[in-house]
Each structure stands twice: as structure tokens, then as C-alpha cells.
Symmetry: C2
Subunit: 374 residues, 2 copies
């Protein structure tokens, strides 16, 4: 058992031009990625991890010995861990439209020599998956033991099952849905509006300026509320006030407010506002039945095994969505099972409940590929 140590993000520069779902073309592309473990000679021991809205390719290890924190799924990736790097070749790529090295709205548009801004085309979950496929081909990956991820990552997991079923043994969608609900769209809408309403957003053409810091911070405050749960807020903060001397003042704050403000400020330092707009839009457009037929029927004869994982306290992506996917796959003749994280932490539980995730994922992977298990 151990961690993966010091790792580096690498960059694949693909000279081609990708036909997007919208019909637009985008290219050349840069895809930022990290890998852990070794690809076997057959190219069939890979596990693809898909990240959520503000995530990056950096899931495990540290970029330098001084790094304060390891990657965002570190306890699950390493020798002896759930995604055992002695057996599997683990890959994660930053999604198209993001700002952690893969081509996105902040990237330089070769047509203008300036950042794309709003000239960046609309990206969908399917486009993200197609870009990942280009990377896996380049890396020599011929088969995925599993594709796994939570939230927006889970949407990509599902689309892997629809777009490249012959390449994927199993999908492990976590805290996600087969199509975004209107309530999820509503929460994304107000977060985008917070950015649009900031005069410093400047119609998306803010590169070279500080940009819409207050708007992006407000978006993150709102998002943060939806990633937690009522009991988790109460456990963590209760009704504690920051400064009792300001109790009867408008500017007085409860601890929970100070925490939200902190989360907002932190995201502004690390994320691009336009990427936030494009990625939340991609989430809104997510619907595995779009242009494929009836939602209940598209799961008929689903070719990949599915381990769906829900979170009991998640009100943003309520567990009924994953349960429904599992039910529809089984009803359609496929192999699927459902497991639930028993956690008070809400949507964020897939970034917190590592022990439960390991207990669910590790035996499932071993069952899928006994030949890779020790």
C-alpha cells in the first residue's frame, strides 16, 4: 500500500481537428493528462478516471515534494489501493473546455492569436469523450477495464458506454444521471448568471484583466451549497457567528458564510470563468438519449457492465438517478448493480468517502478481471 509519489501532468498536442457534436470543428487540440502504473503489452489493463466540473487530470500523487495536497482522488490510486497501480494503467485527462492544460476558452485561438473567449464552440460531454478517445489511441490503450468518475465525470463514464462500448469493459458512474434534471440546470443557470452579471466579465473578453472575480466567486458559493447537505452544514458550522460584536449588523457573518466566501475566493485563484460557463453548459446538455431515441429505451442491450454508485444525502444528484440507470440496464438485458455511499456529506461524498468507495470498487474490479488480480 502506498502513494504514487511525484507525478507530472503531460500534454498531448493533437494536430487534427475534431468534429464536435454541434457540427463545429475544433483543433488542433492540446490534451493534458496524467497516468499512473504501466500499460501492459496487450494494452488492456487501463482504467480511465473522469473528473468533475472544476477538476483536473491530477488525481494522485504530488507535482513536487512541497505540494500541500495530493491529487483529488489520491487515496484511491496507488499500489494496493482501489485503482491498484501495480495492476492497472490509470489515466485521467483534463476535459475539453476546461482550463487545466486541455484546450478551452482561455486557450489561444489560432485564427486570431488571442484567447478564444466566447468564440470557443459549445462543448458537450460526448465531445469530451471523443477527445479522450484520441488520447487513449495515442497512448496505445486498446481496452478499458473500466471508466469511472463522479458528477460530470459520471456523465462522461456513461457516454463512454454509448460511444465506445466495444472498448469499455465496465462503467462506474457515481453521483450522476443519464440526463441532467431541470433543477440541476436551474442551479447551473444562476451560477452562470452570477458570472454574466459581473461587469468585469466584459462579454467573455476579459483575458489580460483580472476578470469576473466576484461573479465567479458567487457562482462557486452557490455551487458549494449544492455539493453539501443540510446535516453536513449543521455538523460543521451550526449557528456559530464569526464576530458576536457584529451580530446585529448586515455585515455580520455566521461561520458558514465565511466558509462560502473562502470557497469562492479559492476557486477564483484557480479557475477560468469562461471555462465555468462552457462546462456547466455541457452538463446541462447532457442527455444520453439526445439524438438516440427514447430515454427508457436507449439502455436496451447495454453492452458494458455497470456498477452505479449513488449518495444517500446528495440533493443535487439524488440517488434515484443512478438507481434508474441500473434498473433500466437490467430491464434491457444488461448487467448492472447499484451501491450507495452512506454518507452525510452530500454530493461531495465521492471526493470524501474513500474507504466506502474502495470497499465497493476494489472487489468489483477484481471480479471483472480476475486475470489482473493477485
Amino acid at each position: 500500500m502506498g502513494d504514487v509519489g511525484i507525478v507530472a501532468t503531460r500534454f498531448y498536442h493533437w494536430p487534427g481537428s475534431l468534429q464536435l457534436e454541434s457540427g463545429a470543428r475544433l483543433g488542433p487540440l492540446t490534451i493534458a493528462y496524467e497516468t499512473y502504473g504501466e500499460l501492459n503489452a496487450a494494452g488492456d489493463n487501463a482504467i480511465l478516471v473522469l473528473h468533475a466540473l472544476t477538476g483536473s487530470a491530477h488525481i494522485a500523487g504530488r507535482h513536487s515534494p512541497d505540494d500541500r495536497l495530493p491529487g483529488w482522488w489520491d487515496p484511491l490510486v496507488g499500489p494496493g489501493r482501489a485503482l491498484d497501480t501495480r495492476r492497472y494503467f490509470v489515466v485521467c485527462a483534463n476535459v475539453l473546455g476546461s482550463c487545466y492544460g486541455t484546450t478551452g476558452p482561455a486557450s489561444i485561438n489560432p485564427a486570431s492569436g488571442r484567447s478564444y473567449g466566447l468564440d470557443f464552440p459549445i462543448i458537450t460531454i460526448r465531445d469530451m469523450v471523443r477527445a479522450q478517445k484520441i488520447l487513449l489511441d495515442y497512448l496505445g490503450v486498446r481496452h478499458l477495464v473500466a471508466a469511472i468518475g463522479g458528477s460530470m465525470g459520471g456523465m462522461q463514464v456513461l457516454e463512454w458506454g454509448f460511444l465506445y462500448p466495444e472498448m469499455v469493459g465496465a462503467i462506474i458512474p457515481i453521483a450522476t444521471g443519464g440526463r441532467t434534471t431541470p433543477m440541476q440546470i436551474a442551479f447551473n443557470n444562476v451560477q452562470r448568471e452570477a458570472i454574466y452579471a459581473d461587469p468585469d466579465w466584459q462579454g467573455g473578453d476579459y483575458y489580460g484583466t483580472p476578470g469576473p472575480r466576484r461573479g465567479l466567486a458567487l457562482a462557486r458559493r452557490i455551487g458549494t451549497i449544492t455539493y453539501k447537505s443540510d446535516p453536513s452544514w449543521t455538523m460543521k458550522f451550526g449557528r456559530t457567528v464569526v464576530d458576536p460584536g457584529k451580530y446585529y449588523r448586515l455585515e455580520g457573518q455566521f461561520e458558514v458564510e465565511s466558509y462560502l466566501a473562502y470557497q469562492g475566493r479559492k476557486l477564483v485563484q484557480r479557475f477560468d470563468a469562461n471555462a465555468y460557463l462552457y462546462l456547466t453548459k455541457a452538463i446541462d446538455l447532457h442527455d444520453v438519449s439526445h439524438r438516440r431515441g427514447n430515454y427508457a429505451e436507449v439502455w436496451q442491450d447495454f453492452p458494458c457492465s455497470c456498477l452505479g454508485i449513488g449518495i444517500a444525502s446528495d440533493f443535487l444528484f439524488p440517488p434515484y438517478q443512478v438507481k434508474e440507470i441500473v434498473r433500466l440496464i437490467k430491464a434491457g438485458g444488461g448487467r448492472a448493480r447499484y451501491r450507495e455511499l452512506n454518507s452525510p456529506y452530500g454530493h461531495d461524498a465521492f471526493l470524501i468517502e474513500f474507504k466506502q468507495l474502495e470497499a465497493i470498487i476494489k472487489p468489483y474490479l477484481a471480479e471483472l478481471r480476475p486475470d489482473l488480480s493477485g
Copy 2:
């Protein structure tokens, strides 16, 4: 059975000065109110209705025959209705700090001759109740059969039970809590921040200008999400798009987004942004145990009967809060019972499920005061 017909909001100008919970003084006060039915000679057949965040005193009837809509609780108030105006004298007053006729931040500050703006003092739920008491004294009300209201109205209902128990026969708190939770505070925080972040807010000194329309509209969009429920959004809008031709554009909208924008615009036409700040702050400060002792213990020997009503699908004010109040009152030797609205509409159900409310409230009132029942 019938409605109350044409009604008018009246205004009580109180020349005194109210000592607020914060220690500040506020006065003279204007209190806007409406009444329906007749006060009896004993002055003991009154029912006080308390309104929520953006509500007004206008609960029933119409102000003119051309009014498109009646008051916000109209189906519950009138001859033969749950709050039967043949038996009860029904009163509702606009709360202190609001903008529907009662003194609030938009009112003229006698000290400056200009709107108070941020010179308005912090108002608490207890202050609202004390102002209502001044009005009831003026009207000759000596006893309330019941105090009833939902959400912020329910908070006032509870404070009536603590501040003037000798005057209140029963309290009927709906979809509320004995103390605001950190998640509720968090949602209020982001709504206030949406207003603060609007440059047109101008530090609250925007009177005579259009004011922070976009910020207030965003606050309302956020609030609107919290007043509904996941199933209600799905039933009402699903994933329908406004214009399929804009599907692959950032500015493309799902119906749910168009609805949110509409709700935002509508509120801007009728509500004052500073009042929104002060009232959400009053909600945050709500805690019946504040300066009274331990939360579990303050309900000991609670003197009023309590009918607590929760809403199954309410994620903003989850029903466990009202259930807890009922449990604590009973544990403390008092009389309390719990009923639940079986509704998919979330927090808003107390403004929608009139039949269920009538079926719960009418027999309870008859039981409380058989002498007033027919």
C-alpha cells in the same frame, strides 16, 4: 362559501419609538395591515396570519374589481373557508423592514428626510412580532385564537408563542424551524451577495435610481430554486428547450431557465432590494433560544397549543424541523401535534396546497374554540 370581495390595505401610524432587539430604537412606525371579518365584543376571536419573505398584508380578496389575482392565501380566507370570516377576525400586517407599507429601508428616515437605506437598523423576527402587537392593541384584539403562517411567517408564529403566550391560544407554524439552519443561511447569503455585487446597488443608496435590478433578480432566481423541489421542476419543465435552434449556444435556454428569469424580473417590479437584505438577515438571526437558553429546553412548559405542519418535499425547510418542535413541546409537557402536506411542490406547497391546509386547519380551529364554531 365565498371570497371576501373587495378589500383595502390600511395603515396604522404609531407615533412611538420601538426598542428593537439590537438595542436601537425605531419610530415613528407605519404598519400596513388588512382585516377580514369582525372582531367580537370580547376581542377574542382574532386569527393573526404572518407572511413570508416577499409577502404583504394582502392575504385575501382583491383591491379592485380589475385585480388579476386575489391575495396570497385567498382560498383559505372567507365565509366558510378555513379561516372563516363569519367567525373569526382575520388580521395580517406587513412586517417591519418590508416594503409593502410598513416601515422599512425604503421609508423616509425622519432624521434625514431621505430613505433609510443602510441606516435602517437590523430587524429581527421578535421585532416584527412586537410591531404586530402594537397593531393588535390598537385594533382592540385581546386574544388570538391562533397565529398562523409559513416560512418566515412561521418564525413569527413561534415568537408569538414565546413573547406573548398569554395572548395566543394556539400557534400553527408551517414549513419553518425554531432556528435557521446553516444551509438556509447559506442560501440567504448568496442571495444577498447577488445584490451586493450589483454596481447599481450603490451601497444601498440607490433610491431615485433604478437600483440593483439584475442583482435582485438573481437573488430571486436562486430563491425560486429553493422554494420548489426536484420532482416539481421535472413535472413542470422536463428538459424542454425554448429555441431548438439555439441548442448548441451559450445563450440557448431550457424552459426552466426562462422561468427563473421571469421570476427574477417579476420580483424586481414589486420588491425593494434593501428590504430583501434586511428580511433575509432577520431570517438568519431567527433562533427562539437566542438569549433564552438551551434550544431543547426553551420548549419546556410551552403554554400554547401547537399544530406544526411540515412539507414532505421541502428541502429548504425540511419537515424534521417542525417535527422536532412538536416533539420538544410534547416532551416539555405541552400540547402539540404534527401534520404533513403530502405535496411534490416543495417549500412553496404552503402557498399551493389549499385543500390539504383547509382539511388540517379547519377542524383544529373548531376544536380550539367550539364556542366559535357553528
